[in-house]
Amino acid sequence: MEHQIVNNSLMRKILLVLLILLSIGKGLTSVNAQTSQEFYQLYKGGEKFLKPSVYLRLSDSTERLSLRDNGDLQFNVGKEIFIFVNQNEKPDTVCLEEYEKLKFINIKQLKDKEYEEYKRAVSKSQVHTPPPLTHGNLNIHFVEVLESKKAVIYKVKWLDITP
């Protein structure tokens, strides 16, 4: 009987250790997956650059469309289209204090920022590469202020389209 209790206790410890290891492993995988989205390269196999985060305010001039019932959203700003994919990124909610710390840019500044980032990376790597024909060197967020004195941050994908 005593032997069985010891065995059970040992088994529980082993299970606990396994669970911890599993959760660490899962966490690492998640961090790796996230990390790969946080960097960009100028060319395949080249140096990795951290994508700067930029924030755009959801304003009256932003057209917001629900794409499907799954929470995906489309934001139209001028001639540009941004997509929030609910499956990939959950919206982040922050208090107004955090919101006020954010530095917002407009669509023209976003385009300038994208080009500046490309030039910065070229200058840093000392490798001349063709300018990007698709968007991918910025982490873009749309921020919406809620009535509850909170703000929702949507990480979005800038669609590679030209009007």
Binding site: Y43, K111, P131, P132, L133
Partner: protein, 392 residues
Amino acid sequence: MVLELCDRGLSYIKRLGSLKHPAANTAGYQTCRAHGTWCTQSSCPREVKWSAFADSVLIRFGEGEFRYDQDSEEESAGGGFIGYECEYEIINWYQVNPYGDDYYLDSDVYLECRFTEEAPVPEESSPNGGGYVLPSNGNGPNPPQTDEACYDPHPTIPGMVVPCVPYKDDDYKIINNLTGKAACVYDKLMKLKGGFKSAIQKFDGEFPVAHLRLDINNSLSNGIYGITGAPNNYTIPISMSNNQLEKISDLRGAIAFAHEVIHAEIYRKMLSAAERGDLVVSNMSKGEQLDFINNLRNDFPGLYDYYLKRYKPTWDHNMMAAHYRSTLSDIAEQFDNKRFGKQIYDDISWAGLRILGENVTSIAWDSLDSDHQDRILLNLKNHFHNGTSNCK
């Protein structure tokens, strides 16, 4: 003796390329295997159906087999290889996935052909007017060459040749999912003398976009009538908004359409220079980027000038404003059956090419004096929103 005709190199599952596999009756016996790893049953959210075209013959992938049976309804998902005997000349290879581009991600397909050489016999004749050239790799002699000018080495696949087949209408794949006013305007454009396609051909004297996908997207912003997406797997998507097109005249709709097709044409040229199915520069190796730049410089110096030499984020619209307005004007004039003088069509060809962004106007527009600009703005106003609209 085994002579490797082609090797790894074709990595795009959607369009495998324009390759001519020597027909079995050319010489000896040949076996080709299309290798591939794509999403497996477990990684595919739903079953992916694959099919392929070799020339006009529909080929479907079966489980581990590759068939020429046009009536076959075999479907498969997964990876592996598909072996087949090259009984036919195959020039154009495509694979079609009806579920969208997402399912091509992480796919990897290449062709491998092994040619067992037995007393090579030159082709007497072919639809292309000649035989093929197999560069010697030291393992065997080149087969006789009946028409040297007719075949070129494939740009990316060592040992493979590209036939000198003139582009045919069939090469120009237009996937047309248009409805409503967009479909009506498109149909009208296609009925123009010489057809819309030939109007497009005029851009540079050669056939334009290889694959064009025309869709409806009614979620575009106010004043945005159409968009052109970056190429993916050799397909350039154009989306038109019926919601927006319904607010403007048919003539304006035709110009909006032509505007997007010019974008597609620019992309097609760039794809040709990049020798790949997309234009994600960061996915190119340094060597591929260098080739891309050199090919642009050599083959499309105008494009090279705007995109690389004096790059601006608005380079494409600046180029269109400077160099494609006469094309747009001609299309508009033809579409409108010359109801007005040429000046009107020249002026309305400025649509979408004046304002390129917030406080940004095109270089060509800025170079006009204010009298010109005023006249153009008046003609745009008179003929766009107030013009005839028979398409519904």
